[in-house]
Amino acid sequence: MNGSDNAEAAPSRPAAPTRGLILPDFCAARAVLAVVLIVTLTAVVLSVARHAAGLSFWLDLARTALFMLWTGLGSAAALCLLRRPLGTMPLPTAVAVAMGAMLTVIALVSAGVLWLGSNAFLGVRASNLLLPEQPWRFFAANLGIGAIVAALALRYFYVAGEWRRNVELQARARVHALQARIRPHFLFNSMNTIAALTRSNAAQAEEAVQDLADLFRANLNEKRSSITLKEELEVARIYQRIEQLRLGERLHVIWDVTDLPMRAQVPGLLMQPLLENAIYHGIEPRQSGGVVTVSGALDGDVIGLTVRNPLPEAGGEAHSGNRIALDNIRERMELLYPGRSSVEASRVGDEYVVRLRFPHVEDPVRTSSL
């Protein structure tokens, strides 16, 4: 069936904040097989339940399964065709459309069965056992059962889709975390600086090696997903100290963070990548250097952190943009604080400003009542 290849690409799309109903690909053979199995099993359940009523079990199963296979495969085909629009509609609309499509299929199949019953083109006298006698009851029962089963199925697909999306998000965040780690450029430049310092200023070289070790330890820390804000700011300061040796007078960093709750739990590697970006994109391309300002404030129970850096000089070449660090922070914050954090980057005057906002959470051990 067509469209399945394109549909495969959908999960790699960046997660949009408002998204529709993500359903499995009903165009694919696997999903069709699953539908056949589910439908047949449901038919068995219904037939077994009705067996006491004195109907012939096998006849009942045959007609139930036949009817349900038509509705099941028809619904799968409808959802297959609607998959792409459903993914882009707002959730309530998508649910309504999917339900409508499935109920329409059920109604059409029911109408078909009634038509067969009244025309009896099979040549055999249609027996009461095979075809329904009371059209409106038949219709209502089918639509009622169909609505319940369809609603349950959609709910299941929605939850399963959310779960899968979350797993994907986590996996991607991990990949990005690897990519966002300290730039090789920084590592080798630092090594070069240290090589120069070992002769001219051994004490400073020693200090730089220790700083570099601490920085890499913080970067390689896989286990703890969150650390205190105080620790996080310290990592950023260590980073600044190393860059300071290399850039000298060209780099000035102003820290305005005294109002922040230092015991707050924050995701690791929040500030250092932002500072690295600010220096790489804002200071290094400028011959005269510039000032990076790191400021923070607690606004109610929301922590706001801001990093600002000057734009490259006019006529100068800007380093090609790198949004990996920002995307990575955005994804990790979304995992930790779904819907309650924001990462904004914008040009304000002659500065580039990145603003982070996320909930203030203290040590989870002490505030477990939350």
């Binding site: 730039r183 090789p184 120069a196």
Partner: protein, 253 residues
């Protein structure tokens, strides 16, 4: 200075990096560091003045980077052998030109520095100018184009910031660059310049390319000939009829 020693120009925007290279060169012996520069345009100026044999040129620098500086240096009558130094991004150098003497990875090893300098000494100056004129392939690699254009002034190069160029004009043989501090002849063809600076300059006539930043107005005289007026400049440039409409639209935007 002894005639045998190699004369080296050191270029890096980071003071510790220059310091370390200077020390390594000192320890190698028989090498004279004739100058140091912290950016590309300074490096090109010193290369013209001091005529070093070798230029150790950092790739990533603010303002004019090492790749552009090397390109300008190649226009000098006696270009230095360029050896790029870089912390990481060697792909840029490899794409730049295979005929560069080579590159050194920072932190630079003394043995490698020595080997590279010996290789440079073996190469004659004429072979080095082969680095020049890599125009065509560069256009798509550096979307913004060079930061400067170079005009030969006797033995020296004069670097003109592209941001100070009013227009380029061409006659049969030469391309003239009219800029804030006068005008010079350059060797680039108008076609190559148009391609390189496609986002910053606009063709107004078969023989003229105008800096968009200085475009002021388009007017028509009594004979129906269109002219373009430039900011800061009391000159009017003829606009071909075909391009007049396009230019008007551009000004309105």
């Amino acid at each position: 200075m002894s005639t045998a020693s190699q004369r080296v120009l050191l270029v890096d925007d980071e003071a510790p990096a220059r310091e370390r290279l200077r020390r390594l060169l000192l320890e190698l012996g028989d090498i004279e560091v004739v100058g140091e520069a912290a950016n590309g345009s300074e490096a090109v100026r010193l290369a013209g003045e001091l005529k070093p044999d070798v230029c150790l040129l950092d790739v990533r620098m603010p303002g004019m980077d090492g790749l552009e500086a090397a390109r300008h240096m190649a226009l000098l009558p006696t270009p230095p052998a360029v050896v790029f130094t870089t912390a990481y991004d060697t792909y840029a150098i490899e794409a730049f030109d295979t005929q560069a003497i080579g590159y050194l990875l920072k932190p630079v090893r003394a043995e490698k520095l020595q080997a590279t300098l010996q290789r440079a000494a073996r190469l004659a100056g004429s072979q080095l100018s082969a680095i020049a004129h890599v125009d065509a392939a560069r256009a798509d690699r550096e979307p913004a184009g060079r930061t400067h254009v170079a005009a030969r002034l006797g033995e020296q190069l004069r670097l003109i910031p592209v941001s100070e160029v009013y227009y380029f004009s061409a006659d049969q043989k030469y391309t003239t660059v009219r800029h804030r501090h006068g005008s010079e002849l350059i060797e680039d063809s108008l076609r190559a310049l148009e391609e390189e600076f496609a986002t910053r300059f606009v063709r107004v006539h078969r023989n003229a390319l105008v800096n968009i930043d200085f475009l002021a107005a388009v007017e028509r005289d009594a004979e129906g000939q269109h002219h373009v007026l430039l900011r800061e400049l009391d000159e009017r440039l003829a606009v071909s009829r075909r391009l007049a409409g396009e230019l008007r639209e551009r000004l309105l935007r």
